[in-house]
Symmetry: C3
Amino acid sequence: MRHYTHIADLGVAGVERVLARALEWKRAAPGRHLDGRVLGMVFFNPSLRTRASFETAMLRGGGNAVVLDVGAGVWKLEYRDGAVMDGDRAEHVREAVPVLGRYCDALAVRTFAALEDFDTDNADPVMRAFRSYTSVPLVSMESAREHPCQGLADMLSVHEHAGATRGVPVTLTWAPHIKPLPHAVPNSFLLTAAAAGCEVRIAHPPGFELHRSVVAEAEALAAASGAKLSFTHDQDAALAESQAVYAKAWGPSAQNASVSAHPDWMLTRERLDRLAPEAAFLHCLPLRRNVEVHDSVLDHPLSKVVGNAGNRFDVQRVLLDMMLNGG
Amino acid sequence: MRHYTHIADLGVAGVERVLARALEWKRAAPGRHLDGRVLGMVFFNPSLRTRASFETAMLRGGGNAVVLDVGAGVWKLEYRDGAVMDGDRAEHVREAVPVLGRYCDALAVRTFAALEDFDTDNADPVMRAFRSYTSVPLVSMESAREHPCQGLADMLSVHEHAGATRGVPVTLTWAPHIKPLPHAVPNSFLLTAAAAGCEVRIAHPPGFELHRSVVAEAEALAAASGAKLSFTHDQDAALAESQAVYAKAWGPSAQNASVSAHPDWMLTRERLDRLAPEAAFLHCLPLRRNVEVHDSVLDHPLSKVVGNAGNRFDVQRVLLDMMLNGG
Amino acid sequence: MRHYTHIADLGVAGVERVLARALEWKRAAPGRHLDGRVLGMVFFNPSLRTRASFETAMLRGGGNAVVLDVGAGVWKLEYRDGAVMDGDRAEHVREAVPVLGRYCDALAVRTFAALEDFDTDNADPVMRAFRSYTSVPLVSMESAREHPCQGLADMLSVHEHAGATRGVPVTLTWAPHIKPLPHAVPNSFLLTAAAAGCEVRIAHPPGFELHRSVVAEAEALAAASGAKLSFTHDQDAALAESQAVYAKAWGPSAQNASVSAHPDWMLTRERLDRLAPEAAFLHCLPLRRNVEVHDSVLDHPLSKVVGNAGNRFDVQRVLLDMMLNGG
């Protein structure tokens, strides 16, 4: 049974394979490859792209999706073993997850970081619990630690833009925000770019380091793929001659770091000039205009954020095929 | 690319065509005319009929709908150009709308009037923003200014009841309510009835005038269709010998007008006697019984409110066909 | 037109027929027996299993479901005749229900007990109102008085486990909870087990009696089926040599009874030893671990709660077939 909840489930060869298949299916769609299959989608957190792209991936393939919102139309779920369930969580994932496997051919789950403890979020407790108890293939729609479908879509955009991923200089630059955000997206950008063999540059102010376990995993992937990784506090240096720049807000890893202390890190039109000619600007969306990134970047021809979101559909239908058809 | 967000997108000929096709398809259903198509439905506001009728129109035609609730399962959306997005709206329609166009073949959106400024609501800012940024055909499921699918369903009911729309006396009468409501439904009744050539009578207490731009647009449509329009503060006169009466609550246009000042405007059984024999009572629903309209009207054989709601399905599948098949 | 909202709609012969067909279809699926049909699912209360199992039952059969959440994406609904609707309920079921019948081939509704008055809940006002006004077949997804699909799934589990239902000793034992819960599940267990001819034992602390009308109905069913019914305050006696034990929390019927007064009624591993060898532990779910039932029971091989939830799908697709195909 194949689960795709972390980039480690794919590794270097798996990432390459997903990108190759996605590029192939963008030229020639696979038809009703998911005919009659049902994906159960469980949301602990809101979604626009993820919901619409997974649901349409099932529909376009001839299948269907059942959408369940935890805590809205659906009971709140407990995931801690041994809990005395006398609070607001009326059901345990030990029951809920295998039950959904009785109705659905595969499951997808979205659950955000609690942002209370950095190590706990990195351990990904809710996603790990789902993975422990599922009886059918499971795919992540983002969890506390990773957003692997986003990382794959990002690399698909890099490949389409640069004709390859190996050796391509790509920059992930921290962006300001009104509140601390989870690390799942930057983690997945780093891990997937490392697996795809990019020349990866991560730029952020002091105090916003990614978790050491993520960095260590990225280094191991880089050793296998030939990727190069660098980390810097100098945004300008990181942007220089980069072929793709990815802006993203994330929260502090150090206690004294503040998301509101670095408004100058907002990406502006002038900074695009530091990139290679014909570079691509990417973002996972949603995005707060004129807080994270200036209008003049988003409305510039180099911005490929809409196409990048479109690529979510393309990588996900490949993963769904691998889960449901072993393809 | 065809958008149907306002009656102006159809005009006199378009309204006639939708009604003719809807009547034809009520006799012989079009089969899987929407095979494999996906409609993305974006709701800023709640819905019963609209959600169910659009979704089943897609399903009956062989397609599917993806339902997105803004602010519930989906991020709140900003629509103002140049906004510094440091509030509760986490995403801009400039990104969200074209992204949805990557997944869906057409979009539908519902967004109610903010009821803060009459002219702003009439300018329909959210619907206009969606229309500016969409890359696929767009249909209105009601906006601040208009509810065109409702207007079309209303005229389909008039046609079924009176055998025609041209020259048929129809009355829209204001109804009391517990709070001010948007003008979209009365606006669309007026505009669609004007396009369909009815003898249209609008009755309301002083202070509840429809927006001058809507009245002007209706007058232009009437000039083209041969419709006659009249506006009165005398409910009884408006009802006299009318072949269809449409009751609807809407909010004041004048500062000193109050929705609670005219309880006597509630439609009662006695007032039905003023209508032509075999007249039809219509309402868009939802409806507050014994506040807007008395039980004795709703439970009377002349009430066609359920059939009128059913006609939403019939006009919408025609619009979806025009959007997706150019039919 | 066939409605399945209460066990009385099936009676002894109907329950037997549903179970036989469900067992048959578990061995050989019925294919696209619901091709092109649309079920409208109306939720006044949250759901996980019910939503997913009904929706997948439609999808697996070639149909679709439209999901409507009352009070979330959908208007709150009034159901009292003659109400002056000046509160928070913006629509009456007299309109909403027949309107949905214009779009859908069948309806399903979930509405929980209000827990304000025992007799009112037992009279099932919301479900009765839906039943009065629907123009298409209606099925209950749980109402104030009964949860018939749950009762049928429970008996399917008993049949699979014991090879029969007639004469099989089954125990329903009250469980502690943090708050009073409705009686629908215990009522349906009793009624369905009585119809299926079990030797039914109901154990609960004093003050938690089921409604006299439910007991009377169960006695009538037992007289027809040959079931035996017994009621006791002695949990241990009820468990003795039982082949299936069903734990469930429900609220008091007597004013002075408290849900928190009997923590010792929580089912534990030790108590399983009183059952017949190879007995099955069942629960409807959701379930609060270590409040209602101890981990050591739920994680024991005798626990069949996941399979029991799976059986919801199996009995429901039979009911849907009976509603839509007269099968």
